[in-house]
């Protein structure tokens, strides 16, 4: 069902937006110092290729060639950035052992439809291409990395600053590649702004990672142990996934707040995101009020699609939670297995030492070594269990909450429309009464009010239809993304399992002759 989504009218809106943007873009480019139009510059192409291949299963060379084309078109709009700069490397977040890499659902370069012989860059054409990319399934040329967590300050006022690096060829940004430092509350602030602007008109805004007072306090206090490093890494990965999901959304990508978040070096501090602030408490009160309202709104659903979808999401939510719990148990047990294997390895080594038969003693030491290596393997697998599988499930559980939120907004919108209709009816009745009572001055006021409420009813209906339309589109997009995400991630997870088995085979194959050599 989701597959039959027609290229959304979003495209039209986008064209308009982009056209405006392009005008603005020209303004900017004139202020930029170097305006060298570099014909097919191979350098920029290399950069995304290398990084993409280390971050994920990178794009094939063919796609990179197409990137070249794009460079031509944007050449005059973009400043030539020195992409051989050494700062490139630190931007790649320190990933763990090559065997298993955490997932970064990177948006890859879209395979282009047009031939390479596209002529002189026309503003209109450029926007067309970008829309076409979008129609091909939200494949944008923008890549976000969150890396280098750094502790800033001391004691309870300390915080972690993360480097957010953007690589893009989209013309709406000033540069092709840039990075900024952001702290966790900045991310929350961004989400808060986007949610306020878009959720009530039906857009599914990806939720930000959750706050954790316990985790953060440990970091602030300065505990340099493995659990706080793990916490920071978990958060870094979550922030990265959050941004990647957000920029994948065609409407959100256009948002100036998002652009400011990615680009500006200075960002006003989002104090309203603090849990115990005035705004925080207000949020909690509103949430409670919403919950009560939800229970009291009885909407007669004229569109079966919405009812069906809500039920489906409810089911999906339950299933995902169950699966998530099982995977979390797996992570826990795998870590236990790793610890127990390590303990056994040490014990076997001791046993080997006290064994007085030389060959057996040696074999036992070898066994200890094998088990130690296997312990490492288990640790890496647990890492994959968590970062690849478990976190995806957690993300989707939160995303579905956002989807449910959007459905709730639609209900509220309906309620507002209904209320307007009721008020209009009352006003009409009041007017009728006044007609009979023959009070001309009040009558005019009544007629004005009727007009006012007629407009409101019309607006209410329009809003409701709009939000319904948007939600349909959003859900279609969401389902497509979900399918893609799950397939990619699960395949990646299975590949991690493959790696583990291959390593196990290697280790035991090496041990077998040692065991046979006991004479």
């Amino acid at each position: 069902m989701a597959a039959e989504r027609e290229p959304p009218p979003l495209g039209d809106a986008r064209a308009a937006d982009l056209e405006e943007l392009e005008d603005g873009e020209d303004l900017f480019t004139s202020t930029v110092s170097t305006l060298e139009s570099s014909p097919s510059s191979p350098e920029p192409v290399n950069l995304p290729a290398e990084d993409l291949s280390t971050n994920s299963n990178g794009p094939k060379p063919a796609e990179i060639m197409l990137d070249d084309d794009r460079e031509d078109l944007f050449a005059e709009a973009t400043e030539e950035v020195s992409l051989d700069s050494p700062e490139r490397d630190p931007m790649l977040s320190p990933k763990p052992t090559p065997a298993i890499t955490p997932v970064t659902p990177v948006t890859l370069v879209a395979p282009r439809m047009e031939s390479k012989s596209v002529a002189a860059p026309v503003i209109f054409d450029r926007s067309r291409e970008e829309i076409e990319e979008e129609a091909n399934g939200d494949l944008f040329d923008i890549e976000i990395n969150v890396s280098d967590p750094e502790k800033v300050g001391d004691g309870m006022n300390a915080y972690m600053a993360y480097r957010v690096t953007t690589k893009t060829t989209l013309s709406m940004f000033h540069k092709n590649e840039f990075s900024v430092k952001r702290r966790f509350s900045d991310f929350l602030g961004l989400h808060s702004k986007l949610a306020t602007k878009y959720m009530h008109i039906g857009y599914i805004v990806p939720p930000a990672p959750e706050k954790s007072i316990v985790g953060m306090t440990k970091v602030k206090v300065g505990k340099e142990d493995s659990s706080s490093t793990e916490f920071v890494e978990k958060r870094r990965a979550a922030l990265e996934r959050y941004l990647q999901r957000t920029v994948k959304h065609p409407t959100l990508l256009q948002d100036p707040d998002l652009r400011q978040f990615l680009e500006s070096s200075e960002l006003p501090r989002a104090v309203n995101t603090q849990a115990l602030s005035g705004a925080g408490i207000l949020r909690m009160v509103n949430k409670a009020a919403d919950a009560v309202n939800k229970m009291t709104i009885k909407m007669n659903e004229s569109d079966a699609w919405f009812e069906e979808k809500q039920q489906q999401f409810e089911n999906l939510d339950q299933q995902l939670r169950k699966l998530h719990a099982s995977v979390e148990a797996l992570v826990c047990h795998r870590k236990e297995l790793s610890a127990n294997t390590a303990a056994f390895a040490k014990s076997a080594a001791m046993l080997g030492n006290s064994e007085d038969h030389t060959a057996l003693s040696r074999a036992l030491s070898q066994l200890a070594e094998v088990e130690e290596k296997i312990d490492q393997l288990h640790q890496e697998q647990a890492f994959a269990d968590f970062y690849v599988f478990s976190e995806l499930l957690g993300d989707y559980i939160r995303l579905i909450a956002a989807v449910k939120g959007v459905f709730d907004h639609r209900m509220k919108c309906w309620q507002k429309w209904q209320d307007a209709q009721v008020t209009l009816q009352k006003k009409r009745e009041a007017e009728a009464k006044l007609q009979l009572a023959n009070k001309p001055d009040k009558l005019q006021q009544a007629k004005d009010e009727i007009k006012e409420w007629e407009t409101k009813v019309q607006q209410g209906e329009k809003d409701f239809e709009q939000i319904s339309k948007t939600i349909r589109k959003e859900v279609g997009r969401f389902e497509k993304e979900r399918v893609k995400d799950f397939k990619t991630v699960i395949i990646e997870y299975l590949e991690s399992l493959v790696q583990t088995q291959q390593q196990l085979i290697k280790y035991w194959e090496a041990f077998l002759p040692e065991a046979k050599a006991i004479a």
């Binding site: 148990a329 046993l351 060959a359 057996l360 399918v483 699960i490 299975l494 085979i505 077998l512």
Partner: protein
């Protein structure tokens, strides 16, 4: 409602699980019994024991009586005395280098085997927990697959199937590790304890022999009950020499058997681990081929 339906569909798997567990435990017990009987049969003296013959040949039910309370209490006290005595006796330094070395070796070895056995147990139990988790994940994926409205349902069902199959392999890995490693170590824990007990008995008889010597000297000095003292001393001497001779042989055999058993089990362990890892790998790779082909 649909949840219970899927749970019912998974009942055969539950029954299968229980079967697999039972089989694993059965295999274990049978293996232990076999090792025990082979040991007795291989022993030059024990193999001639009448009880052993009856056990092997009598084709009707052996009505074996378990130890009653009195006998259990006797055992308990015997053990107490033995350990107390063992402490005293172990203080006696042995003239014979062989036995001295053996004692030092056995004490340390026994402790380390005990530790290794406990750690191996924990490790195999963890492995089993992981296998159980795979089972739960498999059934969750199955539910997801049967309820999803998009084209990912086929995908989920395939992965659910994979988890079911890989879980079986993981459970077998755990069972085999238990059989080949944990049980081996447990066995040698008890064997080394038995060897220690043997050394204790020898030390005991050595102490008795030395005491008998002292008594003889005293008797000769006092010229009283010399003949009796001589006889006692003779008996103690014989006993001591006999036990020393058989103990020496037993301990040498112990080493030979130990090396052979470890070799056999470690080789079999490695072979089984390899077999299972290869099986797992093939499962995963064929599943991935199907999934990648579909997408």
């Amino acid at each position: 409602m649909t949840t219970t339906l899927t749970e019912i569909k998974h009942l055969p798997t539950l029954a299968l699980l229980v079967c697999c567990e039972y089989l694993a435990i059965f295999k274990k017990t049978v293996a232990m019994h076999e090792v025990f009987l082979c040991r007795v049969a291989a022993h030059p003296i024990l193999r001639k024991d009448l009880n052993f013959h009856v056990f092997l040949e009598y084709n009707q039910d052996l009505s074996v009586r378990g130890k009653n309370k009195k006998e259990k209490l006797e055992d308990f006290f015997k053990n107490m005395v033995k350990s107390a005595d063992g402490v005293i006796v172990s203080g006696v330094k042995d003239v014979d280098d062989f036995f001295e070395h053996e004692r030092t070796f056995l004490v340390e070895y026994h402790n380390r085997v005990k530790d290794a056995s406990a750690k191996s147990d924990k490790m195999t139990r963890s492995h089993k927990n992981v296998a159980d988790d795979y089972n739960r994940i498999g059934s969750s994926l199955y539910s997801l697959g049967t309820q999803d409205s998009t084209d990912i349902c086929k995908f989920f069902l395939k992965v659910s199937e994979l988890f079911d199959k890989t879980r079986k392999i993981e459970a077998r890995v755990s069972a085999d590790e238990d059989l080949k490693l944990s049980d081996l170590l447990k066995y040698y824990l008890r064997e080394s304890q038995a060897a220690k007990d043997l050394l204790y008995r020898r030390s005991r008889s050595l102490v008795d022999y030395e005491n008998a010597n002292k008594a003889l000297d005293k008797a000769r000095a006092k010229n009283k009950d010399v003949l009796q003292a001589e006889t006692t001393q003779q008996i103690c001497c014989q006993k001591f020499e006999k036990i020393s001779e058989s103990a020496k042989q037993e301990l040498i055999d112990f080493k030979t058997r130990r090396v052979a058993a470890f070799r056999k089990n470690l080789v079999e362990l490695a072979e089984l681990e390899l077999k299972h890892a290869k099986g797992n790998l093939q499962l995963l790779q064929s599943c991935l081929a199907v999934l990648n082909g579909d997408t």
